[in-house]
């Protein structure tokens, strides 16, 4: 039963306080690391730190630590499904060769249809 595993108030308050300090420290670390020249590792660092922060929020604040298997499964299911979207569309993006044609060169101009008849917002 989830209730039996809930710690005492003092323990829980301490856990929350420590987690809060850790979260702020991680945030500052992430901020600091962005100012270092790490190349592609900047993004990795940012994502890894964010992942740790979310893990702290989920495990401690959202009480996944004390939750049963079913709720943990629900927590993971969304992430896993998103992962499938990423992975399989990634197969396409990783293997699609883009040959640039004139119209595809990115440009900061108005798209062609802005010149056509005005539409109202609901269309």
């Amino acid at each position: 039963m989830a209730e039996a595993r809930t710690p005492t108030f003092a323990r829980e308050r301490r856990g929350i306080a420590l987690a809060w300090i850790a979260l702020l420290a991680l945030m500052l670390t992430s901020l600091g690391s962005a100012y270092l020249k790490l190349g592609p590792w900047n993004m990795v660092a940012g994502l890894v730190i964010a992942g740790i922060k979310v893990a702290i929020v989920a495990w401690l604040f959202m009480r996944l630590r004390a939750a049963g298997a079913l709720i943990r499964l629900a927590a993971v299911a969304g992430l896993g499904t998103w992962g499938l979207l990423l992975a399989l569309s990634g197969v396409d993006y990783a293997t699609r060769t883009l040959t640039s044609a004139a119209v595809q060169r990115p440009q900061q101009l108005l798209p062609v249809q802005a010149a056509s008849a005005p539409r109202h917002a609901l269309q």
Binding site: F9, I16, A17, G46, A50, A58, A74, S89, Q108
Partner: protein, 210 residues
Amino acid sequence: MTAATLARQSADETPDPDTGKLGMWVFLASELLFFGGLFIAYLYGRTHFPAGWAAGSRRTDVVLGTVNTALLLTSSAAVALAVACEDDDRRRRWTARLLALTAGLGAVFLVLKGVEWHAEWHEHLVPGPAFALPVAGAQQFFALYFVMTGLHGVHMIFGVGALGGLALGRARERPWAGARQIEVAALYWHFVDAIWIFLYPLLYLVDRHG
């Protein structure tokens, strides 16, 4: 099992205390996929327009973004503490105040977000004909920036409303503002915070050293 037992089974009467939590976690799974589509669009842009993403991210307000992140992290701690207080007989009187604090921090977050957006509008960083950055992809970056923070902001508005309402209801000892409802609302709040935890490095910290 008697008919009387059967008759009490719906969540409106005497439900299993975990029913609401399970329902909220299932809802959060769907919300993850809702935001997830935007993260996929973001990843497409970042991998195809690294220069545009860097140029755009450098123009976000890292000070306000960091302050906002700190506010949200603190608000999550506050609502987690509120839930803990509600479970403890001696601390239950603090719950309403902590809920109000959480909602207040969220409201400040929204105000700061508005300030940011206002500034970005004036700096011509809103996608459109007068967009300020000539780098390819910078416009898409800001388009996603506004869609992602906007969608996050809408969720924050619901959260502030829910927690503010629960703070008032808890203070007045209303039956609909009990431990179960507070814990369920807190889960939602933590999720919205978790989304921001990822938005922070993805939007504000792409290329600060360039």
